[in-house]
């Protein structure tokens, strides 16, 4: 069938994911034609996709990529991720493919677990899984274990990610995001003094206690091999609402070194930003919600999310290209407009509604 053509390296991962899911041959040209073509982390990503699929054909040139997808295979894989990007970058692929593979994925990914460029593994664990849970009926179908932590330049982290395939996703209707009832968090420190972690906890908690008394922040001190190869620390905070929506935010220390207090406060502020934006999913993982909604059975799915991020907008456009699905997007008007809250005060929310494409797991064997 006809080939889809794109230009440029931007959103390469999303394009590859959607091409594989939709089974459409894709060609991407002019990838960084001026500076260096495909980067190592992208080639690494393609290699991971190759491991996950069967019968896919990939042609790589310096600035060109041709991809004819095969079927999703899954199974046990081990992958050394490129250190330029954190494992989160690669985890996206597993999350998108996982429910539609032939075999359950048991992936052992090695590399950088926490870095500011992509969502960290903790971020996935608390908020991405929360979104996935709404679409996948089986409760115990995914799991993420951080075996070792690895910070940026040298990495050395390791995670185990498991996800079981399903035949179909569920349609989702969610409008009420509820109110934040608890704040949880984790502060991790690798190869640095434990006091860093404690100081981070203190400042993060100090900020959050202004809003809610139910704040618990754990510390995760790692020693020896478990702490990877580079020093660093960071904090991940999550807020759970009465409707079990989870917002999360994360801040990781720079290589040069940052004050732990600053990091704690910054993360808390980020989380508050996230809470302010509201909606029924974390803004970082809007794309998961959008993707799963698009792939759900041929019924109307509806969800209220915070303002669309640039990433989600692009993703919606790509979805239209690959799956031919258009979302109905509306601004969300809350039922009761109370006088005290001005329109300026509330952040704009978006109602996503779509008819799913009725995607079913074609690879899996039925009895």
């Amino acid at each position: 069938m006809a080939e889809l053509t794109f230009k440029g390296s931007n959103y390469l991962k999303q394009k590859l994911i959607l091409a594989t899911i939709s089974g459409k041959a894709t060609k991407i040209t002019d990838i960084r034609s001026s500076n260096g073509g495909l980067q190592e982390f992208e080639i690494n990503l393609i290699r991971l996709i190759d491991k996950l699929t069967d019968g896919s054909k990939i042609k790589l040139h310096a600035t060109e990529l041709e991809y004819i997808p095969g079927i999703l295979l899954g199974g046990k894989i081990e992958h050394q991720c490129c250190l330029d990007k954190s494992i989160g970058y690669y985890l996206d692929v597993l999350i998108a493919f996982g429910p539609f593979c032939k075999h359950p994925i048991e992936a052992n990914l090695k590399g950088v677990t926490n870095s500011p460029d992509s969502p960290s593994v903790d971020h996935y664990k608390c908020s991405a899984f929360n979104i996935m849970k709404r679409f996948i009926i089986e409760v115990e179908s995914f799991e993420l274990k951080v075996l070792k932590r690895g910070m940026k330049p040298l990495g050395g982290g390791e995670i185990l990610f498991k996800i079981k395939p399903v035949m179909k996703l569920r349609t989702l209707q969610i409008e009420n995001s509820g109110m934040v009832k608890r704040i949880r968090g984790i502060v991790y420190a690798c190869k640095v003094s434990p006091s860093f972690a404690n100081r981070t906890v203190e400042s993060a908690k100090g900020t959050m206690l202004n809003f809610l008394p139910d704040v618990y922040i754990h510390t995760d001190q790692n020693k020896g091999k478990l702490s990877g190869l580079s020093p660093g620390f960071g904090v991940n905070l999550s807020a759970e609402t009465t409707e079990n929506v989870i917002y999360a935010a994360e801040v990781v220390s720079n290589v040069q070194g940052t004050l732990p207090e600053d990091i704690g406060r910054e993360c808390a502020n980020k989380l508050l930003d996230e809470i302010y934006r509201g909606g029924c999913c974390d803004s970082t993982f809007q794309w998961i919600m959008i993707l799963y909604m698009a792939l759900s059975p041929k019924n109307v799915s509806k969800a209220v999310i915070g303002p669309l991020s640039q990433y989600s907008i692009k993703f919606l456009q790509l979805l239209k290209e690959f799956l031919g699905i258009t979302f109905k997007l509306d601004t969300y008007e809350e039922e009761e407009d109370e006088e005290e809250t001005d329109d300026n005060m509330r952040s704009p929310k978006v109602v996503l509604a779509c008819v799913g494409v009725g995607y079913s797991n074609l690879a899996r064997r039925v009895l």
Binding site: G8, T242, D273, F327, V355, A363, V366
Partner: protein, 1158 residues
């Protein structure tokens, strides 16, 4: 008489009382809940027999659960597409007559020739499409895939023919539509009894095929070339009350049964090249699920196609108006059959015929419509041309601009607002309005239709607004828009502003869709071809905005290779300090400690309840039992929320007071809210489903919940997009079932048009995602019992799967216990086996059927008996096969040591040996071993090294093997599935040979045709068995052994003369006279003695017998005496007993005494 009747009929009608005693009594009766019988007399309903009650209960439950189906989300639309009724049967059975009669029955019109689908309006809520199935298995398959109801016709005088059974099988595989049998030619059986018998026989045969109690209709005969009017009427009634259950495949795919076909290729190109690819337009109702624009479709008998254009058209056969009336009006009984030439216009190859309905159409009517039509007809140019040639001058001395120059530009920008562009074309020259193109990709008319109609100007303003939002608000905005990399070392205030602007844009924009999709349209078109870009720059060929163009290209380039950022905001730019008071107030209500929505806040809910108590005088009537219960519900709810946020109440006491005050202000509103809640509760409370299932609540509740969920989803599916404009709706949802659409296709082989035969159904089935791809399909298959031959691996097979019919080469296999797929050369009889073939990817559990040929060849049909060769279902999709074939490698020993040996002939090189090192091997004698290592030479006895052939290896065994042993190595060998996939494109064949499609032939067919025979292997022939008698050498036992043997085992070597007999050695004895006397005497004495002995013996036996007799007699007498005695005693005893009893009853006291006396 009539008058009398009228008179009699005029009785005074009954008038119900509205007031008075009687009315009041009735009212009371109604209002008061009278006790039911069960309540009045509970004993009567008590369970008497437990077992039978249990049985009764079980039976009731069984019947109930039998009715349960898995709830399916009902996707039916308000305006359902017409029901497809396929009329199927062997030739000469009366199909066309039936269709004719049905049409006559419903619409009172006659259709002269029946070709293709005929749509008619049957009743207020139902339309039907009748289609006749010709005698071709291709049509039968296609029809089975799209028919909702099948009228299966059968000649009763002949009985069921093979076609009927074949069709039933086809239908079953593709999701069993409703089937109604119709027996015709009943009048040819004259004898009533025979007729009845025949009917019964056929009915039962039909039932076994379809289901017990399937409807079989009898058309008893033909009168004046028509079936009896009554029977047709009944059949019609059956049809229009029939209910249908959704079928799986059709519930997941959309499909169209095309009822009109037009060739819209340019006549000039056809003239130049007769065989050029054609552009074809097909029309039909969308069925199944909504059809999307991007969908690929499969046209059965033609192949996969991409829809070039898809539009909804006004319904040619609309449902009757919604007015309340009993029957259809005469003018609403519509008939639409373009292929049969009834719809009005018939397109022939070289002419257009317009059918005029009777003479009245000659009268010239001067209505506005007809005028318009006439005008159009009289036009010399087409509309396109007219628009192309429209001219207009912008400046008095400027060039004349033809609108044709614009046309392309507009089309490419993806906007469908032609009219809009026409109005604006003058203003295009202004640079600001460049934005107009940018944001108009998402058809903006849709959002503000009403405004638009009023004035074009207003919509322009809107564009300006968007433009402002996009670009003109803030110059830095652009960067923000394209990539979020706002320079982190930029001023902070800018970042803040940028963020706010971004959010604002999302909130202020009336349609986010415009933001998301509108802009993108333009983008994608640019991506497609960069030439377009330049055209965008040149606006109307008048101005060139080069700088703009440059910057755009630059921006785009930047965007192309920008780093993607999954976060909402990259880096930490623009994060607010939430601890400042202004910001804090924004977010504080997002926490449970903040302010709740009034319908969630426990405090407020409580207050509401209090208030309603206070107001109870006003709403006195509502204060009944139910409200009491409602209060309970409330408090529970309060408790829950209390747990969650105890803190909240502690922290914010002061705020709460404020809120209570506020509440008082909006009291009326609150009361209204409360009423709403109350109504909600009431409906829940009154819902019998939740209330009455006490006994087995779990099962019932589960099912009910599931059903309710499906219903809710169906409701949402219907409601969600119903308010939208049709254009937007079709974009989001697709063209929903029931719409009449026009699909145009490009580059269709010319044979489709030139060899078009309307009697073949054109089934256009949409393909879901990735179903257009081809892969390895693994499925479970069973050869049909009635098919005479078994199927062979590697023989081509025609498979009907999903929408498609295609020929492919399957490989059969069997799934072994160790989950290995073992290659099979032939399908087994009567059991399932596994089949893999290269074909279109289809969802699992889709049924398919296989036939060996689709040609209508009678000899072939006789040979195979039943055309359906196999049926099965898809199990799994793969890209690489995993079928293994058993392969035995054979080798022979060349040298044998104690337990190891050198084996040759199994492999060809050392590399192969290396690969198989450690593999298990086995000798014919059963001795097991292992491959060790390849060798290159062996040492002979002489000490010389001799080279051996490559692939020889050393192996060890558990015991010494023999030189005569053959060594086996059992291995598995992967079989590849041949990559052959050829769709059956019978639509392209000439009309006379449409049913003669032959694809790839089987090897057997080819050999038979060319009379090629394999050469016979002489060794395989049977010959008479000649057995030679075995000659054994004499047995020699060594002397030493002979000596040691016992006598009986010793060889008896001494010769025994067999001739010397005993008689020969005997000597005759002759007595002397004396001796003779003695002998005689002795003889006499002996005889005497014996006689005496005999006598004695006789006497003694007699004595003995007598004695026994005597004894027996004595014993008998004694016994007799005893008997007598016993009898006396018992008599006395019994007498006493009766006396006792008597005595007891008479005088109880005298009882004991009398006993003692006895």
């Amino acid at each position: 008489m009539g008058n009398d009747d009228d008179f009699m009929d005029k009785k005074k009608p009954h008038k119900a009382r509205h007031s008075g005693v009687k009315a009041k009594k009735k009212e009371d009766k109604k209002s008061k809940q009278l006790p039911t019988d069960k309540q009045k007399n509970p004993k009567a309903f008590a369970i008497n027999a437990v077992r039978s009650a249990e049985n009764r209960f079980h039976r009731k439950q069984d019947l109930k659960t039998k009715k349960h189906h898995i709830p399916i989300v009902d996707n039916s639309t308000e305006e359902a597409p017409p029901i497809v009724i396929g009329v199927v049967g062997p030739p000469k059975v009366g199909k066309s007559t039936l269709i004719n009669n049905l049409i006559r029955n419903f619409t009172r019109t006659n259709v002269t020739s029946i070709k293709g689908p005929i749509t008619i309006v049957v009743s207020k809520k139902r339309r039907i499409t009748l289609i006749e199935c010709n005698n071709d298995i291709n049509s039968m398959i296609d029809l089975a895939k799209c028919a909702d109801l099948v009228l299966l016709m059968c000649d009763a005088s002949f009985g069921f023919e093979m076609e009927i059974f074949e069709f039933l099988n086809i239908a079953q595989v593709h999701g069993m539509p409703k089937i109604m049998g119709i027996l015709t030619h009943l009048d040819s059986i004259k004898n009533i009894k025979a007729l009845q018998k025949r009917k019964k026989l056929l009915k039962h045969r039909f039932w076994t095929e379809v289901y017990q109690g399937a409807k079989l209709f009898y058309l008893s005969g033909i009168q004046y070339g028509e079936y009896l009017r009554n029977e047709i009427k009944n059949l019609g009634r059956f049809i229009h009350v029939m209910k249908f259950r959704p079928l799986t495949w059709r519930g997941q795919h959309s499909y169209i049964l095309a009822d009109r076909m037009e060739d819209i290729t340019n006549q000039e190109t056809i003239r130049l090249n007769q065989k050029c690819d054609r552009n074809v337009v097909l029309y039909g109702y969308v069925r199944g699920i909504p059809l999307k624009k991007g969908n690929a479709v499969h046209i059965a008998g033609l192949g996969d196609m991409k829809i070039d254009e898809l539009q909804a058209l006004p319904d040619p056969c609309p449902m009757a108006s919604k007015e309340k009336k009993r029957n259809l009006l005469e003018k609403e009984r519509l008939l639409y059959a373009p292929m049969s030439g009834v719809g009005g216009i018939v397109y022939d190859k070289d002419a257009v015929y317009i059918e005029l309905q009777g003479s009245h159409s000659h009268t010239r009517d001067n209505t506005e419509q007809s005028k318009l039509v006439r005008e159009i007809i009289e036009k010399k140019q087409t509309f396109d041309e007219q628009i192309q040639n429209q001219e207009f001058r912008l400046f008095s001395d400027g060039d004349v601009i033809k609108s044709g120059d614009f046309q392309e530009d507009i089309d490419e920008s993806g906007s469908e607002n032609d009219q809009e562009m026409d109005d604006d074309s003058g203003m295009d020259s202004e640079p600001e309005n460049d934005n107009l193109n940018d944001s108009s990709g998402w058809n903006p008319e849709d959002e503000n239709d009403e405004e638009n109609e009023g004035s074009v100007g207003s919509s322009d303003e809107e564009y300006q607004e968007i433009g402002n939002g996009n670009e003109f608000d803030d110059t830095i905005d652009n960067d923000d828009d394209d990539d979020e990399m706002i320079g982190s070392d930029w001023k902070e205030g800018v970042a803040d502003r940028a963020r706010n602007a971004y959010l604002e844009r999302q909130s202020n924009n009336k349609s986010i869709m415009k933001l998301v999709y509108g802009k993108y349209h333009q983008n994608s078109s640019k991506n497609a071809d960069s030439d377009n870009e330049e055209e965008d720059g040149k606006i109307g060929g008048l101005f060139k905005s080069i700088s703009k163009l440059q910057s755009q290209i630059h921006q785009e380039k930047q965007q192309r290779d920008a780093e993607e950022c999954p976060f909402f905001e990259s880096d930490n730019v623009g994060i607010r300090n939430w601890l400042s008071d202004d910001n804090k107030s924004l977010v504080v209500n997002k926490f449970v400690t903040g302010k709740w929505k009034s319908n969630e806040d426990a405090e407020q809910l409580l207050a509401l309840d209090d208030m309603s108590d206070g107001d109870s005088e006003v709403y006195g009537d509502f204060e009944d039992l139910e409200t009491g219960e409602k209060f309970e519900g409330k408090t529970v709810k309060k408790d829950e929320s209390d747990d969650e946020n105890e803190n909240k109440e502690e922290v914010k006491v002061s705020k709460k007071r404020d809120r209570v005050e506020e509440m008082n202000m909006t009291r009326k509103e609150l009361i209204a809210k409360k009423m709403k809640l109350k109504a909600k509760f009431d409906s829940e409370y009154d819902n019998p489903e939740l209330k009455d299932s006490h006994r087995i609540e779990d099962d019932e509740a589960f099912y009910e919940k599931w059903k309710a969920e499906a219903d809710k989803q169906a409701e949402l599916n219907r409601k969600e997009f119903s308010g939208l404009d049709d254009h937007v709706r079709s974009e989001i949802e697709g063209f929903r079932a029931g719409l009449y659409v026009r699909l145009s296709f490009k580059n269709i082989p010319c044979e489709f048009v030139t060899n078009f035969d309307a009697s073949y159904p054109i089934l256009i089935g949409a393909l879901n995602m990735s179903e257009e791809n081809i892969g390895l399909v693994n499925c479970e298959v069973k050869k049909h019992r009635w098919h005479r031959k078994i199927l062979k691996t590697g023989d081509p097979l025609i498979i009907s799967l999903g929408w498609r019919r295609f020929q492919t080469v399957p490989v059969y296999s069997k799934r072994e216990d160790d989950l290995k797929y073992r290659f099979l050369k032939y399908t087994p009889n009567h059991i399932n086996c596994h089949m893999s073939f290269y074909g279109p990817i289809t969802p699992q559990a889709t049924g398919f059927l296989a036939v060996q040929t689709v040609t209508n060849d009678i000899t072939e049909m006789k040979r195979i008996g039943f055309r359906i060769a196999a049926t099965g279902s898809v199990k799994e999709i793969d890209k690489s096969s995993s079928i293994l074939k058993k392969l035995k490698l054979v080798g022979t020993p060349i040298k044998i040591f104690q337990k190891s040996a050198f084996i040759k002939g199994m492999f060809n090189s050392d590399l192969e040996v290396a690969k198989f090192t450690g593999a298990k091997i086995k000798a014919v004698s059963g001795i097991r071993g292992q491959i060790k290592k390849g060798i290159s030479s062996i040492k002979e006895k002489s000490g010389r090294h001799v080279n051996v052939e490559p692939g020889t290896f050393r192996a060890t065994f558990e015991d010494k093997i023999k030189m005569s042993d053959i060594i086996f190595c059992r291995t598995w060998f992967k079989i590849d599935v041949p990559q052959f996939y050829a769709p059956v494109n019978n639509m392209l064949l000439p009309i006379e040979s449409k049913s003669q499609w032959t694809g790839m032939k089987t090897l057997g067919q080819l050999k038979r045709e060319r009379e090629i025979r394999n050469e016979v292997n002489e060794d395989n022939l049977y010959k008479p068995i000649v057995r030679q008698a075995q000659v054994l050498r004499p047995l020699k036992i060594p002397a030493a052994l002979q000596k040691a043997l016992p006598y009986k085992d010793k060889p008896k070597n001494a010769p025994i003369n067999p001739k010397q007999k005993f008689e020969a050695t005997r000597v005759a004895v002759v007595h002397s006279p004396h001796e003779q006397k003695i002998a005689k005497m002795m003889k006499m004495l002996k005889a005497n003695y014996q006689a005496k002995k005999e006598k004695q013996k006789e006497q003694s036996t007699k004595k003995y017998v007598d004695k026994i007799k005597e004894r027996q007699k004595g014993e008998f007498q004694q016994l007799q005496k005893q008997k007598e005695l016993k009898r006396k005693i018992f008599k006395a005893l019994s007498k006493k007993e009766t006396d006792e009893k008597d005595g007891k009853s008479r005088h109880k006291k005298g009882f004991k005494k009398s006993f003692k006396k006895d």
